[in-house]
């Protein structure tokens, strides 16, 4: 078991270095696909933590969107277009919001947790659609001009810098998650999913743990949203719509919760399938996604990640 855990971290480090080195040589569309997948993966990483804890949010689009807006509105309202500040702002805003909402949500389980979180995200969606100062349903373009003081906007390496920031953020998130899951508090996630009563009877607060995990996952969603906004260059309220949240759950189930690597892999596969399905069967890409999902649920109940487990065992 120890060796397996350590391997996770070294694979992560390897992936970090590999991606950073390969970045400049990748076709730009591939680089962008990876960037977007990693943003997604960061969000799904948070979903994974929630799922391990036994709750599923159908409203994580709330934080995905909120993080993006927190980062994106800095420029039009305060003239700040420094990526580091934008990301910090996304983390702070989603952290605070989720800390408050978790006071309510931590009492809920199962479908009620899912639906209450969905309600919150749809309320944000409604508010944003009504706010014409923020471009209403059209949203607005995000401008990220500098990183740590260096101007990147318009530079030939602009995309690479954004890519690198995303890769490093994803790495940081994954390592943090791995360390957390290995910690005593992190280990409670699975225990809570299995038996809340026993957790309480062993002296830990289920509600507090869910609270902390919820905030952690929300911050990751906010970070993912901000990075997505920066790399895509545009944000809109659709990010808070329930279908976006549904997609996160979708990818999380597709990935499996077996490893911190799974969400990134799952997101990458999901984005690739979607992208090629769009291209080769523009009229039936939803069908392709649906069939993939069914196949995974039926034959790989542990998600795509369980494939790796099987490979390792054989």
């Amino acid at each position: 078991m120890n060796t397996r855990r350590d391997r996770s971290l070294s694979i992560l480090a390897l992936a970090l270095v590999g991606l950073l080195l390969a970045g400049p040589f990748l076709p730009r569309w591939t680089m962008f696909l990876i960037t977007v997948s990693l943003c997604y993966g960061i969000v799904v990483l948070g979903m994974m933590l929630l799922m391990r804890t036994g709750v599923v949010s159908f409203g994580h689009g709330l934080y995905y969107c909120l993080g993006a807006y927190a980062a994106g509105t800095l420029e039009p309202f305060f003239g700040i277009s420094e990526i580091a500040i934008m990301l910090a702002c996304a983390v702070a805003v989603t952290g605070l919001t989720s800390a408050v909402l978790a006071l309510l949500l931590r009492k809920y389980r199962d479908i009620f947790f899912a639906m209450l979180s969905l309600a919150f995200s749809m309320i944000l969606y409604g508010l944003l659609v009504k706010t014409s100062a923020l471009g209403s349903s059209d949203g607005f373009n995000v401008s990220a001009r500098t990183f740590l003081g260096f101007t990147i906007a318009g530079a030939p390496y602009e995309r690479y810098v954004v890519f690198a920031i995303t890769v490093i953020s994803a790495y940081g998130a994954a390592v943090l998650m791995q360390l957390y899951l290995r910690s005593h508090r992190g280990r409670l996630a699975g225990a809570i999913r299995d038996n809340e009563l026993r957790v309480e009877y062993m002296g830990a607060s289920v509600a507090n743990t869910i609270h902390v995990n919820y905030v952690f996952s929300a911050v990751l969603a906010g970070l993912g949203g901000a990075l997505a906004g920066i790399s895509v260059g545009h944000i809109d309220p659709e990010m808070a719509y329930w279908t976006t949240s549904g997609e996160f759950v979708f990818v999380a189930i597709l990935s499996g919760t077996g490893s911190v690597l799974a969400p990134f892999l799952g997101a990458m596969i999901f984005e690739t399938i979607r992208s090629f399905a769009y291209e080769y069967s523009p009229n039936t890409w939803q069908m392709a996604l649906g069939v993939t999902m069914l196949l995974v649920i039926m034959f790989l109940p542990g998600g795509l990640w369980s494939l790796f487990g099987k490979l390792r065992r054989t």
């Binding site: 409670l188 999913r193 299995d194 038996n195 957790v199 309480e200 009877y201 062993m202 002296g203």
Partner: protein, 259 residues
């Protein structure tokens, strides 16, 4: 020796049903107390109230002189009262090792908030290994708890209650579902573990032979009341107890009769 656990005029009603009627009992530390009574007599309700899972309708419960009536189970656990369950409450997808590690981990991360005697000398892992050893669970170490045979589940459930080294241990029918031959093994394991630490043990039991062998004191429940309280031989021979709790057919020494 002072009272470690005390119930004062505790009542509990579920609608028209009385699950506890004016229970007042004081338990001195370092004793082993057996709780007997037919199903629905109020034994488990009593444990549930002591551990904060249920709140008494009236009355109060005190631990080491402190009123713990309003506290939730986790805080009571942190004070040093732990319990096991009639139906094992395990983390089914986690391995046996992980099941125990969760408990040790909670103690380790709670730090000073843990008022029990749980300060483990070694690393959490070592405490778990020791517990596996003690309860002869090592063979199952990496199996998911959900796959274990029933008897092993029971054992693990008890082990989980004890791995954090409580001051008071409450066991709800520890030997139910355990084969007749293994009952005493199990109880020996539990008792050898707790007796060296001077832990107070309360356990619900239907097997009068087990009661007879391990307890210092027996509380007999009937319709929410304690109808007898005293040394095992004394209580087990009371006519009311024989009538309502044990049933006339019982002959001590025949373990099958009390299952």
């Amino acid at each position: 020796m002072g009272a470690v656990l005390e119930a004062r005029n505790v009542n509990k009603n579920f609608g028209a049903v009385t699950a506890a009627a004016d229970i007042s009992v004081s338990i001195t530390s370092d004793t082993v107390v057996g709780l007997i009574g037919s199903n629905g007599a109020g034994k488990t309700t009593f444990l549930n109230m002591v551990t904060g899972y249920l709140k008494p309708s009236t009355g109060s419960i005190h631990f080491e002189g402190r009123d713990i009536t309003p506290l939730p189970p986790r805080q009571i656990t942190r004070l040093g009262i732990c319990r096991s369950f009639q139906i094992p409450q395990l983390f089914n997808t986690l391995s046996v090792f992980q099941n125990l590690l969760v408990g040790v981990g909670i103690v380790a991360s709670a730090g000073r908030a843990w008022a029990g005697r749980a300060a483990h000398a070694g690393a959490p892992q070592e405490a778990v290994e020791a517990s596996l050893e003690r309860f002869r669970l090592s063979a199952y170490r990496d199996q998911p708890a959900g796959m274990l045979p029933e008897g092993v589940r029971k054992l693990l459930d008890v082990a989980m209650a004890m791995v954090v080294r409580p001051k008071v241990l409450l066991l709800d029918e520890p030997t139910s579902g355990v084969s007749a031959g293994e009952k005493f093994d199990l109880m020996d394991m539990v008792m050898s573990a707790v007796r060296t630490d001077g832990v107070t043990v309360l356990f619900v039991e239907h097997d009068m032979e087990v009661i007879n062998r391990y307890t210092h004191r027996v509380l007999a429940f009937y319709e929410g009341r304690i109808i007898a309280d005293g040394e095992p031989e004394e209580v087990l021979n009371e006519p009311e107890v024989r009538k309502y709790v044990i049933g006339e057919a019982l002959h001590i020494g025949d373990p099958r009769a009390a299952s």
